[in-house]
């Protein structure tokens, strides 16, 4: 009895904790306690397929995987420039990258930006704009430094609130660039496609000064030499624009006035290690090591997602309600207890969604949850049918309930294991939406086993300890009359 009391207390506190977890965000700020998938909150989901190139023929080889890793970083960098609050960039399989952009205003821009091979441009400052540029750039430079610092911080600390700040800053930088700097520079036709390599390099031996070395292809090298010849010693800058945002404005030394910077390479100096690395990555993000292609793109309007949530919630509540009514009508007292256990099940399951790291609720996920409620009934049905059989065999109520649980266990275990096997296959096959479904279903199966074997059992035995409820007809229609002597015969 002591163990039962203890279990009852445990179940009640578990349920209370789940309720708190679910209701707290709703009451506090009116937001959903779940992380919602794109199909529910609207947004854009883009799957990029990494393609083999001339130099990297096999994506699954170590070099190929390194290239995919580079692409992933580049894409993450581009995504950060989109100004989406909580973007998700994720490797799927060994040659795909999944990008989720929730609540994005312009999905078209996102698609073209992510799929585009190059947005890095080297522009030439117009003559006669030196003073104007200098004044503007002096205001602008702290912003760039701030952005670089933030980027580094995010990489190290992974704090989501910094991401929002960075997104805002990126937008600000782009706006200022477009308003002020675009008109001060001429396009030269040198862009990321011409860039072959970019890497950070220590300058001299001191170690504090770093430079970024860049290498162009033949065409880029010629154009670059041309441009630098014109700019050398004038004090005008090369404008390095990434996605229309000015990211660097190096000058060209007077010594290059004769021929320009030839040889297809250049060094931009005087950086700290971090800024040099950051700049090299940004340069590279204008040129990908392997081509990519948009394999899939799904865009869901924001209100459409809200409608789906609403409809799914109705469907869920409707389904659960019908099941509860059925259970009470058919199985009477145990049915009512199972209904309580089912509600507890639903709460625990939803709380698990909140707690599971990285779990995103999607439409198929909601279907999986609703389905698992129907399934959670199964264990109870197995137990109660068994209990009825035992009652009909003339056993006492207590023995029957006990026998119901013991005898039904092997069926419950087998049927749940087979479901989990199918879920494992689903998880293994799936991406995104499909995985969400497999995870919700698996969790449903596990939690339902717990609630059926623990909650239903504890509650039922608790009820049996109340004499007024200890009547076989509450458990089974037309039970045989039981005499006290029979109970002792039963093992």
């Amino acid at each position: 009895m002591a163990r039962q009391r203890w279990l009852l207390g445990f179940i009640i506190s578990l349920t209370a904790a789940a309720l708190f977890l679910l209701l707290n965000p709703i009451l506090k700020s009116g937001t959903s306690p779940f992380r919602l998938g794109l199909d529910l909150q609207g947004g854009s989901q883009i799957t990029l397929q990494v393609k083999p190139s001339d130099t990297i023929k096999d994506i699954s080889s170590p070099e190929g995987q390194k290239a995919v890793g580079d692409v992933e970083r580049v894409i993450a960098d581009r995504v950060n420039r989109l100004g989406v609050s909580e973007p998700l960039v994720q490797r799927v399989g060994n040659d795909k990258i999944l990008v989720q952009l929730a609540g994005i205003k312009d999905p078209y821009e996102a698609e073209s930006l992510l799929g585009r091979a190059a947005q890095l441009e080297f522009r030439e400052q117009k003559a006669g704009t030196e003073d104007k540029f200098q004044a503007l750039f002096n205001q602008y430079r702290p912003l760039i430094n701030q952005e670089t610092a933030l980027r580094k911080q995010i990489k190290e600390l992974k704090k989501p609130e910094d991401r929002a700040t960075l997104a805002a800053l990126s937008i600000e930088l782009k706006k200022v660039s477009q308003q002020s700097f675009t008109e001060l520079f001429n396009k030269t036709g040198i862009d990321g496609r011409n860039l072959k390599e970019a890497f950070a390099q220590p300058l001299g031996s001191a170690g504090d000064d770093w430079q970024v070395d860049i290498r162009f292809d033949a065409e880029g090298g010629l154009k670059f030499a041309d441009m630098t010849k014109r700019l050398a010693g004038t004090g005008r800058s090369i404008g390095v624009f990434l996605d229309d945002t000015l990211i660097s404005a190096p000058n060209v030394g007077i010594e290059f006035a004769q021929n320009g910077i030839t040889g297809g390479g250049a060094s931009i100096s005087r950086f700290t290690l971090d800024t040099a690395n950051e700049l090299a990555i940004q340069f590279k993000s204008g040129s990908l090591p392997v081509p990519i292609e948009i394999a899939e793109n799904r865009v869901v309007g924001a209100s459409l997602g809200q409608d789906s949530v609403q409809r799914s919630v109705y469907a869920g509540l409707g389904g659960i309600f019908l099941v509860l009514v059925f259970m009470v009508l058919y199985y009477r007292l145990p049915g009512a207890i199972a209904s309580v256990a089912l509600v507890i099940y639903a709460l625990l399951n939803l709380a698990a969604f909140v707690l599971l790291p990285g779990f995103v609720l999607t439409l198929p996920g909601i279907a999986g949850f609703i389905l698992s409620v129907g399934m959670a009934v199964d264990a109870n049905v197995l137990i109660f049918e068994r209990t009825r059989e035992e009652i009909r065999d003339g056993k006492t109520l207590y023995q029957s309930v006990k026998g119901g649980f013991t005898n039904a266990f092997s069926s419950i275990l087998d049927s749940n294991v087979t479901t989990i096997i199918a879920c494992a296959a689903l998880y293994w096959l799936g991406t995104g939406l499909v995985r969400g479904f497999a995870v919700t279903l698996t969790m449903g199966v596990l939690i339902s086993m717990f609630t059926a074997l623990t909650c239903s059992r504890t509650l039922l035995f608790y009820v049996l300890s109340i004499p007024a409820l200890r009547k076989p007809e509450f458990f089974c229609p037309n039970p045989p009359a039981i005499t006290a002597s029979q109970s002792s015969e039963v093992v």
Binding site: G42, R298, L304, R311, L363, D414
Partner: protein, 319 residues
């Protein structure tokens, strides 16, 4: 009520065969006419689907007649998308009537251009309720192969588990029953595809795998009972045992299937477009799962044990 499953087994087998054959014929016809046994959605063949609901401030009073099919087709023709299919989708919930266009794969620029031209010709669209999907041609093939693979793996996993927990012949007939459920679901969707143009998407594969996971439950429960009764009295004829086992578990089989179907029906009715046919596939599959467990898996096991004689059935270690 007592079911005589063994006595009437020819009837049950006949019903199953009839539905299976109908499905297979439909798949063959479908193969001839559209080149695939089921009507594949974008997920499998690639392409772009755009759904643009018209903007209307008062959702109860939307004029769907601005969505003129001829005007839309003309725009599509002008943009070299003459082969696209166009449909008018009726208002649903808060979503106004919409035009749904399915075309070859379009990139962002092409989509924007199409949408712009349509807006000029027809009027503003409610972009917050619009949706678009673009799937490249390689994705579909991968989805198909990995889906098939996942099905095979789950079959193998379940067969392995059942031969470990029961005996190998139990496992084989459980798998036969599963194949039966999956094939019938596929067959019915093939018929639905021919008759109503209903397509199968990636969620259909998910549905098939879920059917595999769930409908084996009913079979397991019945087999569990067969094993239990046999253990008490091994000398009883297998026909009697199976009949008993089916009848003793009948209440559970019906009630479990019913409660699951209740929730699925609720998804089917309220769940919205995406989940509608997912729920339908599950409804068919689960209903078939219960049917095949009660009438097919049980009678096949009895038939096999009678034929081979219970003595020659190898006993798996651990039984």
């Amino acid at each position: 009520m007592r079911l005589q499953v063994i006595q009437q087994r020819k009837l049950w087998w006949g019903i199953s065969l009839a539905i299976l054959v109908a499905g297979i014929i439909s798949m063959l016809i479908s193969w001839k006419t559209i080149g695939a046994p089921l009507r594949p959605s974008l997920d499998f063949v690639g392409g772009t689907r755009l759904e643009l609901p018209i903007a209307c401030p008062d959702p109860k009073n939307c004029k769907a007649d601005v969505l003129n099919l001829e005007v839309i087709r003309k725009v599509l023709d002008e943009q070299g998308l003459g082969g696209s299919s166009v449909q008018i989708v009726e208002a649903q919930g808060n979503k106004p009537p919409a035009v749904s266009i399915r075309s070859s794969s379009l990139d962002a620029g092409q989509r924007e251009k199409l949408q712009k031209t349509l807006t000029e010709k027809i009027g503003a669209f409610d972009m917050a309720r619009s949706s678009s999907e673009t799937v490249g041609p390689t994705m579909g093939k991968q989805l198909f192969t990995s889906g098939l693979l996942a099905l095979l793996v789950s079959f193998a996993g379940i067969a392995l588990y059942l031969s470990f927990r029961f005996q190998w012949d139990y496992a084989v007939f459980a798998i036969v029953a599963l194949l039966h459920d999956v094939l019938i679901t596929v067959g019915i969707f093939s018929i639905l595809g021919l008759a109503f143009g209903i397509e199968v998407d990636s969620l259909f594969i998910v549905a098939l795998l879920t059917i595999v996971g769930f409908s084996v439950n009913d079979t397991v429960v019945i087999y569990d009972r067969v094993r239990e009764v046999l253990a008490v009295d091994p000398s009883r004829s297998i026909n009697d045992v199976v009949d008993d086992a089916v009848n003793q578990t009948l209440g559970r089989s019906i009630n479990t299937t019913m409660t699951t179907l209740l929730t699925l029906t609720s998804i089917f009715i309220f769940g919205g477009e995406t989940l509608k046919f997912f729920a339908l596939a599950l409804i068919i599959g689960f209903a078939m799962g219960a049917y095949s467990s009660i009438f097919i898996a049980s009678t096949l096991l009895a038939w096999w044990r009678n034929r081979s004689g219970s003595l020659v059935v190898p006993v798996v270690v651990g039984e």
